[in-house]
């Protein structure tokens, strides 16, 4: 029983992590929270739904499709909405407002063009349980946990081991200095949005698989945002740790205490972190910014 809950918690945490890493990546470069992130998650959820409905009953192919579409969408949002604002060097508050606008428009566009209902994924897959060491575990939790972890490891490798990753880490410290190294910083920012979008699309697909697709599904990014703040906005390992912590705690509270306390826990956590340690577990202190 406990193991089952733990796996469920880890799987939820891994989805939070996919979304939280996107928040942190963008925050580390531009010092603002990309509220349009939730639109990418929502689009990811719907793309998988339609893929399963119209193309094939293959959840991995559907997830891949979501990932690509949401990644491209995220890059387009950055180019069209944020870059003109960044060029004008405006106060960060305008970026936040633009992001909120995209979020509201995106959600309502789905309601207008489609409907406001819940769409369960048309797949036979989600109900299959498997037996492992005598415990029955939802196969979908295992798949979600496995694929998400793989994606997170790939992102970590990209950041740690490649030239682009090095440039991203440099840009997290200072964009101008990074430009002085000959890095096309504009393009780097677009790449980071693309990366965040890819992860958001995957997260959307998995969230839809678990909870169905619906217009406000992107609001789950609130949990990811809390994870990112808890781990320290701008820190990628922090975001991942925060996300797994939140996923597991929520599941345990729902299972052993009360499911109505679950969401309250996240928000209390947010408030406590902001009061006690605003930089989070591993947040970049201001002195890190040269």
């Amino acid at each position: 029983m406990f193991i089952q809950q733990l796996i469920t918690g880890l799987s939820i945490g891994s989805v939070y992590a996919l979304m939280a890493v996107g928040y942190s990546l963008i925050y580390s470069l531009l010092n603002f929270t990309n509220f349009a992130h939730s639109v990418c998650v929502m689009v990811g959820a719907y793309v998988s739904y339609f893929f399963l409905l119209l193309v094939a009953d293959n959840i991995l192919a559907a997830a891949l499709c979501s990932l690509v579409v949401a990644g491209v969408l995220s890059a387009i949002i950055e180019k069209v909405a944020y870059q003109p604002l960044l060029d004008k060097n405006v106060n960060r508050i305008y970026l936040l407002i633009a992001g909120l606008g995209i979020q509201i428009v995106g959600e309502n566009l789905v309601i207008v063009l489609l409907d406001g209902r819940f769409h369960a994924y048309p797949t036979t897959f989600s109900s299959i349980p498997i037996k492992l060491f005598g415990i029955s575990i939802g196969l979908i939790d295992l798949i979600i946990l496995g694929v998400s972890s793989l994606a997170l490891v790939l992102v970590e490798l990209l950041i740690r081991k490649t030239k682009t990753g090095l440039a991203i880490r440099g840009a997290a410290s200072d964009l101008n200095t990074t430009a002085l190294m000959g890095v096309p910083v504009r393009r780097l920012i677009t790449i980071v949005f693309l990366l965040a979008g890819l992860l958001a699309g995957l997260a959307g697909s998995f969230t839809g698989l678990k909870y169905t697709a619906y217009p406000s599904i992107g609001s789950l990014t609130t949990k990811a945002f809390i994870s990112a703040v808890f781990g320290g906005l701008g820190s990628i390992p922090g975001a991942v740790i925060g996300a797994f912590f939140l996923g597991v705690s929520e599941t345990m509270i729902a299972a052993y205490v009360s499911s109505s306390l679950r969401d309250m826990f996240s928000f209390v956590l947010l408030v406590v972190v902001l009061v006690i340690r605003p930089t989070g577990l591993m947040g970049k202190a201001t002195e890190e910014k040269a």
């Binding site: 030239k163 090095l166 880490r169 190294m181 000959g182 890095v183 890190e288």
Partner: protein, 239 residues
């Protein structure tokens, strides 16, 4: 090699550069000296593309310079900015590798950096933020060289360093120049700067008020009075 014509720049209402014109010859060291706030750093930022000028032009090898910083770097101009601007959270080695972003492989540059600055090799796995001021300056210069520039601009390389280390840095700058790299240097330490330069300019309030060979300027009465005889560089310096 580099020709600046009537360059103007401002921050809001503050006019930082007024009609700057000069020419830099390939293979030479040019020093720009001038008091705080004269506009020296602004000039370098305009050349590298970090700041947009209001007017005038920067012509590099017969062509007007592009607008984006990364293209300027790819064309062979590098700026080692004032205050170093190293990446504190990255290791020394990572700082150098990022400096080599436009180069295929950083290996050769790393070897050269470590030959020039053995200290950096000892510290290569250390976070750059933990280096001393002098070591950070060495890192900033070495990082600038990683891109194999044709022209390197150094903004106050001796800032905050002890006289002995300043001598080291000046020797390194001469060595870099002897390897064929053109140098444009801004310095408060006028004596040192004129000592190693071929050409020099004096900037005051956004204008170039004097220009000539470094030897000439070092003899100039008003330069001696303002930058060499006073309490800057000359008297406090035993090197």
């Amino acid at each position: 090699m580099l020709k600046i014509e009537n360059l103007q720049a401002s921050y809001g209402k503050i006019q930082a550069l007024r009609d700057i014109s000069f020419e830099l010859n390939e293979g030479e060291i040019m020093s720009i000296i001038g008091a705080n706030g004269a506009g020296k750093s602004t000039l370098m930022k305009c050349i590298i593309g970090l700041q947009r000028p209001d007017g005038g032009s920067v012509i590099y090898r017969g062509r007007p310079m592009g607008k984006s910083t990364y293209k300027t770097v790819q064309n062979g101009i590098v700026l080692v900015p004032e205050g170093r601007w190293i990446f504190p959270a990255l290791t020394v080695e990572e700082n150098l590798k990022l400096g080599a972003y436009i180069v295929k492989s950083p290996d050769e540059g790393l070897k050269r950096s470590f030959r020039m600055f053995p200290k950096l090799e000892e510290r290569k796995k250390q976070r750059a933020g933990t280096l001393s001021g002098g070591e950070q300056q060495m890192l900033a210069i070495a990082r600038g060289l990683m891109a194999n520039p044709k022209l390197i601009m150094l903004d106050e390389p001796s800032l905050g360093l002890a006289p002995l280390i300043i001598n080291d840095i000046m020797n390194i700058i001469k060595e870099i120049n002897q390897q064929g790299v053109t140098v444009l240097m801004v310095e408060q330490n006028a004596k040192k700067a004129l000592g190693i330069a071929h050409q020099a300019c004096v900037m005051e309030q956004g204008r170039i008020v004097k220009r000539g060979s470094a030897a000439q300027l070092a003899q100039d009465e008003s330069v001696i009075a303002a930058y060499l005889g006073g309490n800057k560089g000359g008297t406090t310096d035993h090197g």
